[in-house]
Amino acid sequence: MTDATAGGEALPKPPLDIVPLLLPVILALAMIPLIGSASTWVTLTVASLAMGMMIFIMASGLTLVFGLMDVLNFGHGAFIAVGAYVATLILLPMAAWVQADSLWQNLAAVTPAVLLAMAVTGALGLVFERVLIRPVYGQHLKQILITMGGLIVAEQGLYALWGPQIIPLPLPAALRGSFIFGDIAIAKYRLLAMLVGLTVFVVTMLVLNRTRLGLLIRAGVENREMVEALGYRIRRLFLGVFMAGSALAGLGGVMWSLYREQVHASIGNELMILVFIVVIIGGLGSVTGCFIGAVLVAMVANYGGFLLPKLALISDILLMVAILMWRPRGLYAVTNR
């Protein structure tokens, strides 16, 4: 780039901010000597990536909702739990197909379950936005209270409909087991989770960077008023993002329940803390930050749980504190708030 600066022909390119991208890599490499055994390290790393991708799927919509409309939605966890329960409506009656030894029969049960879960959580997102969030735009305290209330109502609704007991949700037969390379085993389902997460990330990035809709979303995250002053109804845009984010949370809920092989209404609450940490670490409104944040949070949980089990509960909070001390607005700051 030396010739570009001569004669002031081009602006200096802002340096590509890759430090955050390197963080998970550095963290993973630094763990090799601490963990010692290569196969354990691979298992923990794969587990981290799989868990990270599932959390990313749940968190991606929330970060855009934060960024775009400055809405603090503490009810996002409701979509995670509802998604999981709705999937059981198909997966339990079709248990025979889920447990069949044919990949096709497994898919014939799982695909409609996932689609139904996403459709229901997307529609629930519509209701949630219209009924709970619309009246409290711009009022953070009320947003927190009313969306938390929404989460509690949703959770109690699930208890009322399905009862308080844990529902077992076995993995489809074709997704059980591992691929074995020497003494290293990689669980098939973890691989699938990584694949789905990566796909969601790539598609989201393509939409945000290559489509007019994506440009509007990015512009709206930065300056809502100006997007409106250009003639775009940002409320409608926001509703679309909100519904898509809710549907993704539903997808994440199904994936997480299959991972845990059980469904319980408390997963909404349980995962919300991680999801919020991820959104804050990543920088409100940044999908890339959210992606990296999710991987970091999962790595700290997995490596930390192995090395320092006593710190497992607070390790992710410590991670958040450390990152915010380094970058107070998160890994990638995109909003002006």
């Binding site: 022909e9 081009a10 602006l11 200096p12 390119k13 802002p14 007019r212 440009l215 509007l216 990015r218 512009a219 995250v221 930065e222 300056n223 008023e225 100006m226 997007v227 409106e228 002053a229 250009l230 003639g231 775009y232 109804r233 940002i234 995109v334």
Partner: protein
């Protein structure tokens, strides 16, 4: 000649503050109307009120045959207003091109119009694919104005375009605004720099304390030093 925009008794509250106290003025079609007044007089709030960003609490705003007081901002924009805010508000994460893509609501760029804009804002062509955030202050202002004129609009609201820019860039901007004016645009321009106002204003409205205190032809104010002194006081001295 008809009036493109008319404000009658417009009041605006922001939170519990009463900012505009009955603003009255008109913007004639095809002319450039200057909105002058010292800092804090309410000029920016007036433009934001017209744009629906700080909606009026009382009074009437007529624009191109419709009563737009109380309309939502996107609807006001769609009726044909281009807005260049005081803060420029370019989307810094987007490229110059992407900023203009969003501004060109009705579809692909009109190539002739784009070349016309590049003619007086050459840096926009040069940095077409650069992030808007990496532009200099003057270039961001060019982009902000280009966004408002990338398609023909009935009315342009431009808020202090020369603020904080180096004198050489200010001169260039005046030329551009004059060129936009010659193209037949109707402009409501807020400007602290009296020389700029003299150079391109046809009519003028002067604000103080949230109300209009003088209206008339720019030439009349230009030729009356005592009136300038009374209306604009300090801000005039600052530029002489």
């Amino acid at each position: 000649m008809s009036d493109m925009l008319t404000l009658r008794g417009v009041h605006t509250h922001i939170g519990r503050y009463h900012i505009l106290h009955g603003v009255d003025f008109t913007v004639p079609e095809g002319q450039t109307t200057m909105l002058l007044g010292r800092n804090g007089a309410g000029k920016t709030t007036t433009l934001r009120t017209i744009m629906g960003l700080s909606p009026p609490s009382a009074g009437e705003i007529d624009f191109a045959g419709a009563s737009i007081g109380g309309w939502a901002t996107p609807d006001i924009a769609m009726r044909g207003v281009g807005y260049v805010p005081e803060t420029m508000a370019v989307f810094s994460d987007l490229t110059v091109k992407e900023n203009l893509v969003l501004a060109a609501r009705s579809g692909p760029f009109d190539p002739t119009r784009l070349e016309w804009i590049f003619g007086f804002f050459p840096p926009l062509k040069k940095f077409w694919l650069s992030r808007a955030g990496s532009l200099s202050g003057g270039q961001k202002q060019m982009l902000s104005i280009a966004r408002a004129i990338v398609e023909p609009r009935r009315l342009l609201l431009i808020d202090e375009p020369t603020k904080g820019l180096a004198p050489a860039i200010v001169m260039a901007l005046i030329e551009c605004l004059a060129e936009i004016k010659r193209s037949g645009a109707t402009i409501l321009l807020v400007e602290q720099n009296f020389r700029v106002a003299e150079a391109i204003g046809d009519t003028v409205a002067v604000m103080d304390n949230g109300a209009i205190v003088h209206r008339g032809a720019m030439a009349a104010l230009s030729g009356d030093g005592a009136l300038q002194e009374r209306l604009l006081g300090l801000s005039l001295e600052a530029h002489q």
